[in-house]
């Protein structure tokens, strides 16, 4: 038997509950993770012989982290917003990556290969960027960006195709593709793309293809930040305002029902993975053209993996991905100052991030803890897997 029929006054209550569940869980997760991080600091302090025990070290650490992420009033008074800008610089690729993973979740696909798509996206951008390094900037930027998108898309297409037509699970194939990307990057950067005279593996600079700095985001807030915002709105629009987005969400929520309704889940799978790969590729473009501007063989970030946490925290909502990415980007930006002022290693950020991820993966459990007695009305609809959960 199904849930009781909603009484007429249900609407207000349900939507309040919905808002609560959307905000409460991420909030609880973030606060809980910060508390756990503080506990880790407190507990490990005594393990260090000779160190004076400082019961407020965790406060110093978080203060420094926040200051590193947003700056301080003195700087603001001097119109110096470099800390905020550096948070934005860290945020932009996470937005792209989060959108990539989140879009996959919406279609019921777990694109764990954002990392590989990120790398080849950057690779595409550096190849064309170097090639067009002295072309007019708009042309060079567009060329390198499109190349990166195309590379990322190709990297997403392959697992999508394998999933749709060979039944290969996308988690496995995207992980494999990550390794291929790492090796491809290493081979190209130390081979054909290497600056011939350089003693080490590094490519040429992308020159004019580099993202320009946005005038009011000095010193280093580049075009990619703007593109990330546009992408978030764009992906939201695609998902919720286009027929294709409808198909993607329908396939994710119920592949059977969408097939019965005349949609073609296989093609949607391929298209979704391709689009997701393109977004992850853009994250790579964003880092390469906006930050590093050339590629060393050590190029590689954890953006691809952090993106999974971002997408989960935002429950795959493209607009919610922006604040989620800001949180992670800010923590990253603040990690430097935290290391200097509190002498806490950057690994603390990893700890907090890991706790957040872990908590999100178990979020159905957390949701149950938050409002324990909803069995029979909403509890029964709780999805079993985090991916399906995120797909809502």
């Amino acid at each position: 038997m199904s849930a009781p029929a909603p009484a007429p006054r249900a609407r207000g209550g349900v939507s309040r509950a919905r808002v609560w569940s959307l905000v409460a869980v991420p909030l609880a997760v973030i606060v809980g993770s910060a508390v756990l991080g503080a506990a880790v600091i407190l507990l490990s302090e005594p393990l260090i012989p000779g160190r004076q025990f400082d019961p407020l070290l965790w406060l110093t650490a978080y203060e420094a982290m926040i200051q590193g992420a947003i700056g301080d009033p003195q700087e603001w008074a001097a119109l110096d917003f470099h800390s905020l800008v550096s948070t934005l610089v860290n945020t932009a690729p996470l937005v792209f990556g989060g959108l990539a993973v989140g879009f996959g979740f919406k279609a019921g696909l777990f694109n764990i290969g954002a990392q590989g798509q990120f790398l080849v996206g950057a690779l595409g951008a550096v190849i064309v960027g170097v090639w067009l390094h002295d072309a007019p900037a708009p042309l060079a930027i567009a060329g390198a960006t499109i190349a990166g998108m195309a590379f990322g898309a190709a990297w997403g297409f392959v697992p999508g195709f394998l999933k749709a037509f060979a039944g290969a699970h996308e988690v496995v194939s995207t992980i494999m593709m990550n390794y291929v990307a790492i090796q491809l990057l290493a081979a190209l950067v130390s081979g054909p793309l290497k600056v011939p005279r350089s003693p080490q593996a590094i490519t040429f600079d992308v020159g004019n293809a580099a993202f320009p700095v946005i005038p009011f985001l000095q010193p280093n807030g580049h075009l990619g930040i703007l593109l990330a915002l546009i992408a978030a709105v764009g992906v939201w629009w695609v998902l919720y305002r286009t027929t294709w987005g409808f198909e993607v969400r329908a396939t994710g929520a119920s592949p059977d029902a969408s097939r019965y309704a005349g949609m073609r889940p296989r093609l949607i799978t391929v298209a979704t993975m391709t689009f997701s790969g393109m977004l992850a590729g853009l994250a790579g473009v964003c880092v390469l053209l906006g930050v590093t501007k050339s590629m060393t063989s050590s190029f590689g970030t954890t953006v691809g993996f952090d993106s999974i946490a971002v997408a989960l925290l935002a429950r795959s909502n493209p607009l919610a991905i922006v604040p989620a990415a800001l949180l992670f980007g800010g923590m990253r930006a603040g990690a430097g100052l935290m290391q200097i002022q509190a002498e806490i290693p950057a690994e603390l950020v990893d700890v907090i991030q890991a706790v957040i991820l872990l908590a999100l993966v178990t979020s159905p459990v957390i949701r149950r803890l938050l409002h324990a007695d909803t069995r029979g009305s909403h509890g029964t609809e709780t999805a079993a897997s985090p991916a399906a959960e995120a797909a809502r």
């Binding site: 199904s2 286009t242 027929t243 929520a253 119920s254």
Partner: protein, 523 residues
């Protein structure tokens, strides 16, 4: 009936003023219920009326916001299922909680073994008790037989046995007959009657009126979380109960009228199809459905009906044969092409195939038409026209919902099916394919859907109805085709078909006369 005597006994179980609220919904609103020893007490209500919530309260799965539970006159608090069982309250769920690979004895002991105050199970003792209980209540069963080898009816008896083994005094059965054949239903009723005679109290949850009248000593009807009446079978009728349950007068059987068949609309010839594992399931089916008639396909589940339907609506590629629609060959066409050609399809499992539960009602209403005007211009969806049309559909098809933006999951089963019906029926159709369109629905919804089907027929649509519920096929079909072993073994005239004849054809695949002979021979 047997369970009651002239003196009024103290109730074995009493629930007083139970109120249970969920966010936005009052599932139980001051429900009171008392069950006397040796009484079979039916709890009657439509889906979503609050029956399950009430039983969850009784079983300790939900904590009531108000009210109390008394056992033998003593107020108690039930902490959970284990507590309920310890107090002699047991529940037999609609979906059995049995482990198919284990034996009857193992299943009965499952969970019990931890309560036994010893290290090793005393299987000999368990066997003895199982046999004894079976003998006492009229269903002896071999404790060593594997549950997977038992029929559904016997599996249910194992569930009851489990409860009795735990010394249940109060037995709650949630829709126990939903999965049973008419014969099995009668057998289980006999068992329940015996249990009651020996002093057990039984709460029988159902929405089937004739069953309730047949078995219960008292009937409590609930609607929208409230008790709306208490009756004794002798004092009431199906019509009155239905009216109490639904809240208005209902027509229990729809007047199918007379059909005026037109030109052949659907023609299936020499159709063969295999299931997903490649086993041939449809082995050469020929059939024809004319415009303005309802062809019902009767058959025991698994005789190729699913594959036949899927082949017709484009979800399965037939291995041989042809399907034509209004003279045009549509064999192997995609679901979308068929949809555009005027074929509508109501799948059997609305949760899995008919609806996307997390999506809004409006989105579910455009699940097959989202991509074309007026719901989309190019690739851009037109949310306004989607919602406008949704509001009108919801009104016309009487879907009870606060808003078309509410998710389909928040609706009751009947309202959910109304959305599928609204989506599939609400346009010009050549062919309407219905697979178990009223499964699990309440009386009111069944009435509504049957009326819609007949209206569609009268508008000149060819209707193909597949149902495992023989009653439904008999009730609204103009012609009845019986499917057995992947073939159509007989086609009968709907209004004159005899239930027993069709039943035998379904079971044996023989002709009616063969069937009658078989019946005579076995008698």
């Amino acid at each position: 009936m047997t369970g009651q005597s002239g003196t009024i006994q103290a109730p074995a179980l009493e629930m007083r003023g139970i109120t249970k609220r969920y966010p936005g919904v009052v599932a139980n609103d001051g429900i009171s219920l008392e069950v006397r020893p040796g009484e079979i007490h039916a709890l009657l209500g439509e889906n979503g009326a609050g029956k399950t919530t009430l039983m969850n309260v009784l079983y300790g799965l939900a904590t009531p916001d108000e009210g109390q539970i008394l056992l033998d006159g003593e107020p108690i608090r039930i902490a959970g299922p284990a507590d309920a069982i310890a107090r002699g309250i047991n529940m037999v769920h609609q979906h059995f909680m049995l482990v198919p690979v284990l034996s009857v004895a193992d299943n009965v002991l499952l969970g019990e073994e931890t309560m036994a105050n010893r290290v090793f199970l005393d299987r000999k003792e368990a066997h003895r008790r199982i046999l004894e209980l079976g003998r006492k209540f009229g269903f002896e069963i071999d404790p060593e037989v594997k549950v997977s080898a038992l029929s559904v009816g016997w599996q249910q008896r194992v569930e009851i046995l489990k409860a009795l083994y735990r010394n249940a005094r109060i037995l709650v059965l949630d829709e126990p007959t939903a999965v049973l054949t008419p014969q099995e239903t009668e057998e289980i009723f006999a068992v329940l009657r015996r249990l009651a005679d020996q002093g057990h109290s039984i709460v029988f949850i159902s929405h089937k009126l004739y069953e309730v009248l047949a078995i219960a000593d008292r009937i409590t009807v609930i609607r929208r979380g409230r008790v709306v009446g208490e009756r004794r079978p002798a004092e009431t009728s199906e019509d009155e109960l239905a009216e109490l349950m639904v809240g208005r007068e209902v027509q229990l059987t729809v007047d199918r009228g007379t059909s005026h068949p037109g030109r052949p609309m659907l023609r299936v010839s020499g159709l063969e199809a295999s299931d997903d594992r490649g086993h041939p399931m449809v082995r050469g089916v020929d059939l024809e459905v004319r415009a303005g008639e309802i062809l019902g396909i009767a058959g025991v589940a698994g005789n190729g009906q699913d594959e036949l339907v899927e082949s017709i609506v484009g979800l399965r590629r037939p291995t041989a044969g042809a399907v034509t629609l209004d003279g045009a060959n549509i064999t192997g066409h995609s679901p979308r092409a068929l949809n555009e050609a005027g074929v509508a399809y109501v799948p059997a499992d609305r949760h899995r195939f008919g609806l996307i539960l997390p999506f809004s009602i409006a989105d579910n209403l455009v699940l097959t038409s989202y991509y074309r005007p007026p719901y989309a211009r190019g690739v851009v969806r037109d949310g306004e026209s989607i919602e406008r049309d949704a509001r009108s559909s919801v009104e016309r098809f009487d879907v009870r919902t606060p808003s078309v933006t509410a998710s389909a999951a928040t609706l009751s089963g009947g309202n959910q099916q109304k959305i599928v019906v609204a989506r599939e029926f609400d346009r010009e159709l050549k062919l309407l394919v219905l697979d178990q369109p009223t499964r699990g629905l309440d009386v009111g919804s069944i009435e509504f859907i049957h009326k819609q089907v007949i209206a569609k027929r009268d508008a000149g649509t060819a209707v193909l109805l597949v149902s495992a519920e023989l009653d439904e096929v008999l009730e609204i079909s103009d012609r009845i085709a019986v499917m057995y072993g992947g073939r159509i073994v007989a086609v009968l005239d709907g209004p004159t078909a005899d239930k027993n004849d069709v039943g035998l054809l379904m079971a044996t695949g023989g002709t009616a006369r063969d069937g009658a002979q078989i019946a005579k021979a076995s008698a």
